[in-house]
Amino acid sequence: MLSVLMTTEGTYPYSAGGVSTWCDALLRNTPDVKWTLLPLMMNPHIEQKFDPPHNVRKILNVPLWGIEEPAEFNGDIPFAQLYDRKRRTSEQTIELEFLPLFRELLRIICSDPSDSATLGRVFVQLEDYFRAHDYNETFKSRCVWRTFKEEVERYTEGSSIFDLTECLRWLYHFLVVLNVRVPKTSVTHSTAAAFCGIPCMTARVRHGTPMILTEHGVYLREQYLFLSRFRRLFFCKQFLLNLITAVVRANYHFADVVAPVCHYNTRWEIAHATPQQKIRVIYNGVDPELFAPSSRVHGSDPHIVATARIDPLKDIETLLRVAARLKSTHPRAKFTVFGAVADEPYYRRCLTLRKRLGVEDTVNLGSATNDVVSAYHDADVVLLTSISEAFPYSVIEAMSCEKAIVASDVGGVGEALEGCGVLVKPRNDEQFAAEIGNLLDNPPLRLRLGAKARARVMDEFRLDHTIGKYLDLYRSLAA
């Protein structure tokens, strides 16, 4: 029986979103695969958003924050054994066994993040070390701090004591995954080129287990964006981005197949040393039975629907401007944005803008729905104003529902929508409004585009096709 280790980071089964939807569909539609799930999570005390199916035999949760002892959630190891590890972890052991590996790790982070082969070997040796020794005692030892200081000062300059403190604490959290002992499987599948890929890499080095890497977004790019907020802490930003770059490149290096969800993502992958021949794009798929067209007739007012969380990346502000423009030509048109509020200050900013633009009666923001299919059915036009996307489910779901779509031409959206929807330059509210107006005034065009979109889904973006491609990949690699 095929067994697969799937690793996730900040997504399935603990949060909603595209990656989790993808994971759930893959696990649920592969009953013959024996899955082990390893979710890296920010903290251990969050509720599951998904109930993994029965073929998920084991879940190895790895919380990075919110714990005092990394062993807290490692239920397989009895406390007596953990205590014994603590007792065995002396300053001398750390100096002899840990520090050489730690120095090597710091060399890679600070001066050569592209030395992926060595990084993989170091990770395996660190895993071995932490099977016999305590993580906390090691990382919080005096000699580790001193070595960290010496090594970082050797490779870099300008760090304050605070910078070093923060950097080593972050390193402690990010490497918690080295404590986990994963079972041997036929294949490993990392759902991001991130720290969750480390167990897959070490399985590759240790047992030669084939590794697949799927990138939904581009992890490295997301981290660059996140750490751009560290304006005052340039040294920390630099150190962390070096660490992340090293880990991302190692993911690309050790993966047998890199399977991004769209061609757009391959730009970053190739630029970071992923050989072209390793890359095999597998588009996301939807269930056409579930996302089926409807002949239902909704209210008489034109209705524009967006399914997007309230987040700056979804550029809801442009959507509001589009609504304001459209109001002058189509005063009865209504907009509904279905999606949770992901960024409260941004939501407040949007509410202020909505008021300023005078579209409070026109745009309904932040509506929750459990029935996204009906949301699409109620739409005359589906709108996506995002400034950053990979291969969004909202687009292919709406396509499957035979809807006319106006979307910003970002990420892999064009790959889905080319020829069967309208693509607009991001942030261009004037063009968005014109295209929506055109579609509202031209029902036959809407129907034509919707039919083409549905046909495209049936040909290229069906869930069973997507699942089939992954299964083929697993089988060929396991063989």
Binding site: N43, E72, Y224, I387
Partner: protein, 527 residues
Amino acid sequence: MSAAVEADRDAAHDLGQQVIDLIGIPKDSWEIAAQLEVMGLRDADARADYGARDLFDLAARIDGWFREGRFPYEIEGEDPITTSAFVRFLKNYATGLTFSLPMALQGAVMLLWGYGVWGAIEMDLRTGSAIALGFIASYIVTGGFMQSIVRRGLFYVYQQEESLARWTALRAWSIALRVVLGLLVPALLVNALFKILPWSIVLTASAYYVALAILWLNWALIYLVRKTWLFLLTTAIALAAVLLAAKGFGASPVAANAVGLIVADVLSFGLALLHLNRMTNRPIVNPPRVTILVYSTSRFFVYGVLYNTFLFADRLIAWTSGTGREDFPPYGFWLNVRYELGMDLALVVVMLLSGIVEHATQRFSETLIPNEKRVKSMDTARFVERAKRDHRRRTLALAGASVIAVAAAVFVAVALRNFKTLPIYPSLIAPTTTRVFLVATLAYVIFMFALQNVLMLLTLSRVEHVVRAVAIALAVNVGVGFVLSRAVHYSAAVWGLLTGAIALLFFTARSMRKILGELDYHYYAAY
């Protein structure tokens, strides 16, 4: 250069400035590329509008211009501190006072109207002894649980896991209550077997022990929700209830105390629960493993038990000694009012200095990060020197405040002698009281210096240093106190407290010196 190329270049330069304004110093061109992408730019735009091959090429150009110094940029400094030093001091001092004011209020009410929440001036020595026994036992038994509730709870509060803070605190509270009640069984059995104390004392002591233990545990919950002013509020309301029961309804002192303690217990638990529930109403998910929870909290538990035992060991020793007693104790444990009065008067020093210690500890913790940010890692010696200098300055400030506090305590002790009608007047002027007061005052002053060190060590999570120091200090306290109280005079037990405080100061000062010498490491490891 053609006009079109120049226009593209100008546009790219303007775009670069926008990106730099947004992110400050870019790490490399990838950071710029990521920003360009979320600005909605595509490869097609890079080509059409900026004359670049693609977005990555455009980002590399902007990065190159940045490295050439073509973009002005500004990085904001640290947020300015808006509170004045004096206001900060007053705030911290008031926080420190919230711990000692309930004690002061109870003392004042006792002197003015003769009643406290536990105890009353007109009580006979038998009941007083029972209350003293119940009080000390409750304080020692709950010490470990109080520390565990607060430390583990605050750990989760700092992690913004309020539901877990609530869960662990209430769980520890309920376990503690079961332990408090459970320990009564062996205590009563031992007394039944060996007939150490009469049942009237034992049962009264047991009742006070349970009621007071609940109160201390509730106060730990209140500390966790950071509403320490509620200590004073609950004490004031409980005192009012006692006075109403005694003066309004003619209740006996024990019955009035019972009313007051029930009010204090119910009110403090209700308020604590209210604030815990206000913190969160989320259910808890994935609670930590019990063994790990117990292990990670155990050092704080041990510290709590040792610390509380240290504070009351001398009284236990004094009141179980017959040497030099003027009141011929009938049982193995018998309260001595003169000793208690001497100790209570000395507490004025603790009350006045607690705010100073609170301020010093707060400032130590508040200034650590700004100081770390100011100093380059290559220059750690300068950071350490500064920390040592600050510590010396705070120690000197405490020394100055101690002189004032001692003067105030002596003033209170002398002033009380003018109130000859006070029922405690004969005890007040007794030489034993004066002797105990003077030694205890000195002991408490030294103890406050040690406590300042203890709190700073705990700020850095160096609990093992604290446990070691308190254990040694307790051994000295008990050893010296026991020998002197038996060989010289029962009141010489206070010398145990003094020598114990000196030992505590010595060992905590030594730890502080060591830790300040490597403060960069110890701050790093305090997570």
